[in-house]
């Protein structure tokens, strides 16, 4: 079952007939059908949004905006099977835009965001003991984005490339860098969390 409580991994096979019917009904303007889809996909999208923006309130806003945008442009979706990746694309882009706005705002007030290079350099410190969530927060939004799309949503490299509108080589490279950074952040005296 896709997108339900406790689940998160996507896959076209998990988009069952019930969901397809709901998508078709929602396309015809049935708000009740769309409410069912919101119920099914809200966790799926919230995880993606939260991974990128790292703030519950902001992630909630991102997901709401994503659903509203999806409902208003649902007629443009030709293939119902593409609904999960289509929703992910919308949410990921809105989340990345949100982070970009935050960056601009913070930069204008002189605040700093952890530099991935510095993070990697500091990771060798023996007293650095971070759990995975803290380690994720040290990554750049772009690296968090690929990690969540791969690890949590289960998209393959080509789908991630399509969602982020980047070459597949960039996806591969970002995932490698992100995991190396996570590994370094989680490592303490050669041990693991």
């Amino acid at each position: 079952m896709f997108g339900g409580q406790g689940s998160g991994l996507r896959g076209d096979a998990s988009l069952n007939d019930g969901h397809r019917q709901l998508i078709r009904a929602a396309k015809a303007g049935d708000k009740e059908a769309f409410a069912h889809l919101v119920r099914s996909y809200k966790d799926f999208l919230f995880r993606t949004a939260f991974a990128i923006v790292r703030d519950h309130g902001e992630a909630e806003d991102v997901v709401q905006e994503s659903f509203v945008k999806a409902f208003l442009s649902l007629r443009t979706l030709n293939d119902e099977r593409a609904f999960p990746s289509w929703m992910s694309t919308i949410a990921t882009r809105i989340a990345l835009d949100t982070v970009k706005r935050q960056r601009t705002h913070r930069d204008s007030f002189g605040s700093t965001i952890p530099d991935p290079e510095l993070v990697e350099a500091h990771s060798s410190a023996p007293d650095l003991r971070l759990d995975i969530a803290d380690a994720m927060s040290k990554l750049s939004p772009e690296h968090r984005g690929v990690i969540v799309l791969r690890e949590v949503q289960g998209f393959d490299y080509q789908e991630i490339a399509d969602i982020l509108k980047v070459p597949i080589g960039t996806v591969r490279s970002r995932l490698h860098v992100a995991r190396m950074q996570l590994r370094n952040l989680l490592k303490t005296d050669g041990g693991k969390e």
Binding site: G6, R39, K42, D43, F46, R47, E60, Q64, V152, D156
Partner: protein, 168 residues
């Protein structure tokens, strides 16, 4: 394969995104390289931890209600926007119609005047040939002829002797 080259492939290996040849090369290397084998295990562990960490996250309960409220508001806003466009478009169309109607009326008037003028010229020419204008011109010519004859008659009377009927 060198360790550096292998480390670049480990991430894609964990994701099962390598070609068969790359998989064979990497497996052959890690059977003899403890550090690269450890890297594979660490990446697998990171994948598990990340997945577990995120699957514990859920959207707030109120999410659905708020989304549907926002959709309602967005639909109303969109309808208002469409209505505004409809009104604006109607105004443009009406103005256009009024303008073109005015032009059409002006054109009609001009055309009518021109037609009347042309009609008048034609009637005059036709009248010259067969109509009243011929009579008028004929009358004018007749008047001229009568005047000339009258002048000649008066001159003749003036040149005649006065004794007849005047001397008794």
């Amino acid at each position: 394969m060198e360790c550096m080259a292998v480390s670049q492939l480990v991430s894609a290996y964990v994701d099962q995104e390598l070609s068969e040849a790359e998989v064979q090369g990497l497996r052959a290397h890690i059977t003899n390289c403890k550090s690269c084998e450890a890297l594979v295990e660490e990446f697998l562990l990171i994948s598990q931890l990340t997945r577990k960490s995120f699957l514990e996250i859920s959207a707030p309960e109120r999410m659905e209600t708020r989304v549907m409220q926002q959709i309602g508001s967005a639909q109303r806003a969109r309808q208002s926007f469409r209505l505004m466009w409809l009104v604006a478009l109607s105004a443009v169309v009406m103005t256009g119609l009024a303008f073109t109607g005015g032009l059409a009326a002006l054109w009609g008037l001009t055309t009518t005047l021109m037609l009347h003028f042309a009609h008048g010229i034609a009637v005059l020419l036709l009248g010259l040939v067969v109509g009243r204008a011929g009579l008028i011109i004929g009358s004018i010519v007749a008047c001229g002829v009568v005047t000339v004859l009258s002048v000649l008659a008066i001159r003749r009377l003036m040149s005649m002797p006065l004794e007849t009927g005047m001397g008794s």
